[in-house]
């Protein structure tokens, strides 16, 4: 009987399996909690801030942490907790947007290079390698110097500094998938290059990109802070964590909390994205786990 050698799965809904697999990775859960906290803080920043982030009060400048100012105050007497909360917004927006830019550029260039090969591949790969061989901070600095300081230019600069890694990732994926039997099968049904590339090759090569992008958000946040530290990022009074720390270096021995708290915030955020990214690797790797 045909019916007997065929098993139609009674399956659990996919999200149950994903959730189960995700919860198995404790560090991933920690990462997720950290990211969720960051998102909430960033979204509701105006409601969470106990004071205005830009209100200055010279009388209480450089005050150590106390009950009224949990993280202390900076050299202008601004509440550091409020500024760190507002800084989460900047970091999150810059991190997500700039990675989005890198991913779009990288995926388009990488897939074209991998799919068409030959001269096109050579040219695109060389450009990507050149970008990748320069420190991202240098490219970003150069770009910010050209388009001028400010939050938008920081986003664009970081986006343009990190695309090469996604391009290389996608190119490798496409190269190895190109010769897969199912691509040959699709071709033999008369599919055009466009359909093969965008409908079959790309969706199959995205999971490592998603993982890399998650970890990339952490990197982008660090790069934003670096640019802010160098005075090329968001302009005062916008409280970017990097700018806050840069500001704090002058008072390192008088009021170290000016560096410690934004630094801690950034460390926790980046740690959250990295842990979450590592957990994603496990989820997306369908091959050696119970399938969805």
């Amino acid at each position: 009987m045909v019916e007997n050698n065929v098993n139609v799965y009674k399956r659990k809904p996919p999200w149950v399996v994903i959730l189960k697999r995700f919860l198995a990775n404790k560090m991933g859960v920690v990462g997720t909690v950290l990211i969720v906290c960051l998102v909430i803080v960033a979204l509701f920043a105006p409601l969470l801030e106990p004071y205005s982030y830009k209100e200055q009060n010279i009388e209480i400048s450089n005050e150590p942490p106390s009950l009224s100012h949990i993280m202390g105050t900076d050299d202008f007497g601004r509440d550091l907790l409020s500024r760190t909360i507002r800084g989460a917004r900047i970091s999150f927006v810059v991190g997500v947007l700039s990675v989005l830019i890198s991913v779009v550029i990288g995926v388009v260039i990488g897939s074209i290079a991998g799919f068409y090969g030959g001269m096109i591949d050579l040219v695109l790969t060389t450009i990507a390698d050149l970008t990748w061989s320069m420190p991202a901070i240098l490219i970003a600095l150069l770009l910010v110097a050209i388009i001028g300081a400010g939050l938008e230019s920081v986003v664009i600069a970081i986006g343009l500094s990190y695309w090469a890694q996604y391009a290389r990732l996608v190119r490798g994926q496409i190269l190895s998938l190109k010769s897969a039997v199912f691509i040959e099968a699709t071709k033999s049904l008369g599919a055009s290059d466009f359909v093969i590339l965008f409908k079959h090759l790309l969706p199959n090569s995205l999971s490592p990109v998603i993982v890399a992008a998650t970890i990339g958000i952490g990197n982008a946040i660090v790069l934003e802070a670096t640019l802010g530290f160098l005075g090329m990022g968001a302009q005062p009074p916008t409280p970017s964590w990097g700018a806050m720390m840069s500001n704090g270096t002058a008072y390192l021995f008088i009021s170290p909390w000016m560096i410690i708290f934004p630094g801690l915030a950034m460390m926790i955020t980046v740690l959250g994205f990295n842990l979450f990214g590592d957990a994603l690797i496990d989820i997306m790797d369908v091959k050696n786990k119970e399938s969805i």
């Binding site: 045909v2 019916e3 050698n5 065929v6 098993n7 139609v8 799965y9 399956r11 897969a180 039997v181 199912f182 040959e184 099968a185 699709t186 071709k187 033999s188 049904l189 008369g190 599919a191 055009s192 359909v195 409908k199 079959h200 969706p203 199959n204 369908v286 399938s291 969805i292």
Partner: protein, 323 residues
Amino acid sequence: MPILEVNDLHVEFIVDKKKIRPLERVSLEMNSGEVLGMVGETGSGKSLTAHAIMGLTSLVGGEIGGSVTFEGKDLLVLSEKEMQSIRGSQIAFIPQNPMTSLDPVYRVGDQIVEGLCKQVKIGKQQAKQQVIDLMGKLRIPKAKQVFQQYPHQLSGGLKQRIVIAMGLCAHPKILIADEPTTALDVTVQAQIMLLFKEMTMARNISLFLITHDLGVIAQVCDKVAVMYAGNMVEFGRIGEVFSSPRHPYTKALLQCIPRIGMEKGSLAAISGNVPSVDTYPSGCRYHPRCSRADSLCKKTIPTLLKIEGDSRVACHHYLDNKD
């Protein structure tokens, strides 16, 4: 007029600046509704023949020569765009391994619908219904549920049926199936072969079946082409080839099939090995293993001679039947 005519087909690759020809001297014709089988050992050029016909060989500096005539058109000179309109709707291809022939990120039903919609202008809902009907005809149980599943949720036999459905959905005139049952259990193999035969006969599709199983050939084919080391050595009607093989290789191949009632330990084998592309011997490629070989075979390449009707053989000594 035959629906597909292959004439003196060869494929040439350039590897390390050296030209190699893994496929040479292949000529065959198949008529509408016929089932043609191609047998040969691994590396004998069966799959390459199929790929060359479909225009799926990726050549880097190589060339495909000869002619592949489909309904009067030479497929080898068509542009990639023109080939895209032929693939699927005119000539469909079922690749070797059903386990990897399906895109893992799409539901299997949608993949069949995609093939159908590419060739026939119909609405999504209508296409879906047609596909479910077709899946039912291929005896896929609970077709509606299977339609919604991903490839990794299906068994090998089911996947093979899905792949067959993909090949059949756009009503091609020729279906090329590259070892469609090799990856399956013997019990499922028989089922699938029967399905194949039924579906192609009902739709008047010519089937080009590649296999290394002579039993399958004997069961379902009208004609058979025997490949050896990148050459076609014999071609003819199934009855003729099986009852009176002309080429010594075909003869040896047929003797290798074990029969029930045979004495234990008397299994025949062809001595020696199949040469690989870079070690093809001079003259007839089969001569080092052939019992009839003489000095002529060592020096001169035998041509694929047309004898009596459709039959072809590539052997200097096909007339003497001394062994």
